[in-house]
Amino acid sequence: MRRLTSLQTFLVLITGLQFFTFYPLLATPYLSGPRWGAFLMLPLIIYCLAFSLRRKRKKPIPALEWAALAYLIAFVPITLSSLNGFGSEAPPTNYWTTVIACIATAWLLNELLSSSNYRNAWVARLAFYAAPLIFGLSVLYLWEVLTRGLHIPFVLLPPPSMIWTRLIHSLPTLWADFQQTFLKAVITGYALGCGLGFLVAIAIDRSPFLQKGLLPLGNFVSALPVIGVAPIMVMWFGFDWQSKVAVVVIMTFFPMLVNTVSGLAATSSMEKDLMRTYAATWFQTLVKLRLPAAWPFIFNALKINSTLALIGAIVAEFFGTPIVGMGFRISTEVGRMNVDMVWAEIAVAAVAGSAFYGIVALIERAVTFWHPSVRNARTV
């Protein structure tokens, strides 16, 4: 059973309204692209409007998804391809209403995809992955349209299309940089930093003396700023990736320490009492009770660190490197005004970082399956 929420109704309405205000624009000379698509949309729009107004309808309206999709297929290419036609002039107002309506429709589609329970497992899975994709594409779309429509100087922010062209033409460079920064510095530093934070947290937990002595000092390390630390590490560990590892270690250490310490404190007193009745050793209690209970916290740190490590390594490369690496490339290409290359490098970083995060999140789901945040998210 599905009814339209008021938000969805609103989105459908503005999309529909836009649709009619757009027609005058079709006559103007600078619109290019497949205009007929817009006319094909008419019946679908009317159909959806009709349904959205009948709020109390209880049966699902699968057509609404299709309508939203069709709308996007019709109008996104029109708005994109006519960007060239405007030249150096500013696009007319109803061009912008169309853009807004496209974004609204994309959001509507997302709302629909994620709020309905599809019977078919395949469709459900498709909907699951489509949502972030659609969101991302709308961001890119908006970016493209704004940078080109508003004639933003490209040295400030290049449009995605340009970044993409640059990206596919510089794959070997990007791959070399990725190897240097991600595979060597980030992975090693992440493992070492998280490992160290974890071990220190355990040591602190083991010894009350350390807990009182080391934890306040641990706070001290928490904000050693990369900018200050990176030159020192370059001085100590040389120009190559080893010094970046050191920076990443410092950046990831504290979140891990804090989260592990909190996690180890997260057991309830009855759970601890049970262990006491078994006269379990400290180590047994740790492995069998406190660590499992701490996993949700530890994974928080692992997730935060997965992005911090990348930022740390890249920023550290601003302070002296061999002439390869994502940070090196970014800093030099900014100076050369090759802003598209900078963003291509950023895109690689974003994909790599998100994938890294995703892997950590997947492991988290498997390990902390029992935690209400995972259990409830799955059943609701």
Binding site: P153, P231, F239, G320, P322, I323, S331, T332, V334
Partner: protein, 307 residues
Amino acid sequence: ADKVVLQLKWVTQAQFAGYYVAKDKGFYEAEGLDVEIKPGGPDIAPPQVIAGGGADVVVDWMPSALATREKGVPLVNIAQPFKSSGMMLTCLKESGVASPADFKGKTLGVWFFGNEYPFLSWMSQLGLKTDGGPDGVTVLKQGFNVDPLIQKQAACISTMTYNEYWQVIDAGIKPEDLVTFKYEDQGVATLEDGLYVLEDKLKDPAFKEKMVKFVRASMKGWKYAETNPDEAAGIVLENDSTGAQTEMHQKRMMGEIAKLTAGSNGALDEADYKRTVASLMKGGSDPVITKEPVGAFTHEITDAALK
């Protein structure tokens, strides 16, 4: 007063003494200008700032300005207070570098962020590859300081005559232990520290007028600084809000800078320009600029200013 925003290429130091002196001594005010000087830093690309509307005029090096111009941000040189280049490569004698022929197989520290162009064109003139292979040189992206040389992580590093070189000396290494190669002497010097504005803004006569006044006052500042280096250094120190500069260093820097600005009255020497362009277009497989720039400089402003 007319507002002018000037974006420097680097942090507040004697390298920009002329502008600070002009402001401090009231030369700008006398022209009816209200000038705001924005210090730069390692992450600030002046062309980006001017393209984003954050400044009216910027200090930049010509290689970077020309490269930017080719990228579609039409920068125009309106004045060139620096006659000669202060860039050089400083090597430790003990690393075995005595002449450019000894570079092969060595590690060299270079500044990037648009400052690497002169180095790259020099290397391509020497026929040395910069990708770290056996018959080329290994290039390091050097940070902002001279540590790589002191730590012996590199055989040679980039220095400016007025700044980093003295830091090496300050670190306790004697001039006899060093070998230096000035770009000026190697025939690969490019123009440094010029004043650049956006081309389309120059179409506006009011703006042009403002720039004339600005250049006139700035040059007055520069000449004052040349003749009164100690006072100029003091003015720079006062304007340094980080409080990190030392008096000794700034005075020395001012002395060196004066040597570089000495030959210029502010007008760009076309011969220097031609040499810079030629050197940039020679850059081997990956030249800095691919075609002869058109309209990258104008004498209109300096002509009016120096009348």
